[in-house]
Amino acid sequence: MRPEDLFQAIGETEDSLLDENVTPAGHIRASYIVGAVSIAACTALVVGLAVFSGKHPADEMHPSVCYTTGTAAGTAPGSTQPVIISRTVERQTEAESEAAAAPEAETLADVPQSAPPHDSMTDVPTQTEALSVQETDLPPMPAVGVWRSLSMDGYGRLVCRYYVFEGDGNGTTYEQEDGSSAAFKYTIQPDEDGTEEMQLADEDGQNWTAVLSGTEQASLTLSAAGAEAPGEELSFLQGSTEFHFFATGTLCEEARQYYFDNYGTVPPSVGAVCQEDGTVLIHLYEDLETHNSTWAWYTADPLTGEIRDTEENVVIHLPMQTE
């Protein structure tokens, strides 16, 4: 076989796989651009219909059992364990990172019936407090600790990543979506005007700058040296470099698992977007070609792993215990 043969085989990719993909049109963009406003409206409509009929929305919309695994947006390396980050982890080699990554997500249809069930809906705790975001005392600039960046990608979706500044000129970024990491180095020094600046260089060889003097301690803006990449707004999360978060892929799998455990059907598709408060909005749905049919909306806190029913505003799933 030659690479050309493989390239030609790729050219025969099924339309259904290609159609979800790539070009700035079609299902993916539409589903993301719809955004939270439409999400709320759709949810209200679905729930309204369900209330009218006295059934759970999912029962109403999808009485048939769907055991196809479907395609899960953001179900990249998903494990039920949070991504743990601390000073003791230090730099990870790529091999170590891969070893630490979870195995491929298990097919929900293969989940054994004897698996310990999650809380049923009747056991759902009724906490109504806001999702937690760990905030501690602000450190002096330059801030050692964890910062969160929210930036827009080319499709207008929010992308969340974490910056861990170690204090020794080294740092690491972690992607909320799949927990993958990349190292960077940074220096802090006064520029020609005496203004304190941070220079940050990532593994791509891209250079970023943040002006520190006179900026709020809780936020800073990283600007790319090149004109192409937009700046990133970083907000301070915590002073310790030891923290954990649940990657979006993990949260999506947890949400699907929860749904399966409680309703006995597997949502065929799941999509997720970061929101401005750092939470992740999870959409369980079925693609009916002409439209997406919603099964459930959940909001997950990536820092605690709590998953909340967006409509009912109750915690439906707590993160699995780690050691």
């Binding site: 076989m1 030659r2 690479p3 050309e4 043969d5 493989l6 390239f7 030609q8 085989a9 790729i10 050219g11 025969e12 990719t13 099924e14 339309d15 796989l17 290609l18 159609d19 979800e20 993909n21 790539v22 070009t23 700035p24 049109a25 079609g26 993916i28 395609t71 899960a72 947006a73 953001g74 179900t75 990249a76 390396p77 998903g78 790529e94 891969e98 491929e104 997500a105 930036s151 827009m152 990608d153 080319g154 499709y155 979706r157 992308v159 970024t173 992607e175 979506e177 799949d178 993958s180 990349a182 990532d202 593994e203 791509d204 891209q206 192409e228 990449a229 892929g249």
Partner: protein, 185 residues
């Protein structure tokens, strides 16, 4: 004008079908050819050839997804042209890189003796894609279906180029394992 209306024009043998197709899908097809050929002029010729192929194909064909139907024709035409150019030592950078990367997925890139069953390979590849998480699949197809530069893929997904390259490399490794397991390599 929507797809059904455009297809209806082809079936009526109305030449405005090509004009309408060009308006709706011209930029899309051009970008596919441009990624593979790296030449605006070659890409334009390729797109014109696409309209001709479409004209000859409809009827009898009535594609469900006109965009992908045209995109695949463009990709095939552009790849044929690329191979012709490469034989004449006029290859272009991005496509060479794409093929080099794909070479990692197979046992012996120079092996022209083993005739592989393209149909079986196609089906196996589709199976592989279906099992990938959505984002990995999207990144993979942007790179190896549309031959899009890594940098622009990274920008579209809010990723760093390096991170995107790592994801692609891991996916290629998975593909290699899949092809090995399926007996293709």
């Amino acid at each position: 004008m929507d797809d059904a209306e455009i297809i209806a024009l082809y079936w009526k043998r109305d030449e405005t079908a090509i004009e309408e197709t060009s308006q709706v899908y011209g930029a899309y097809c051009h970008s596919i050819a441009e990624h593979i050929l790296h030449s605006d002029r070659d890409a334009e010729e390729c797109v014109n050839d696409t309209w001709m192929r479409a004209w000859n194909a409809m009827p009898p064909q009535k594609p469900n997804r006109l965009r992908l139907f045209l995109g695949k024709i463009t990709r095939n035409l552009a790849f044929d042209r690329y191979r012709q150019q490469r034989a004449e030592k006029r290859g272009s950078g991005e496509m060479d890189a794409v093929l080099e990367e794909l070479a990692e997925c197979i046992a012996d890139p120079e092996d022209v003796e083993t005739v592989c069953d393209q149909r079986a390979l196609r089906e196996s590849f589709n199976d592989f894609l279906r099992k990938l998480p959505q984002r990995e699949r999207q990144l993979f197809l942007r790179r190896y279906f549309y031959a899009e530069p890594v940098r622009s893929i990274a920008e579209a997904y809010g990723l760093r180029s390096n991170h995107t390259s790592v994801i692609l490399r891991r996916t290629r490794q998975k593909l290699r394992e899949h092809l090995k397991k399926e007996g293709f390599i």
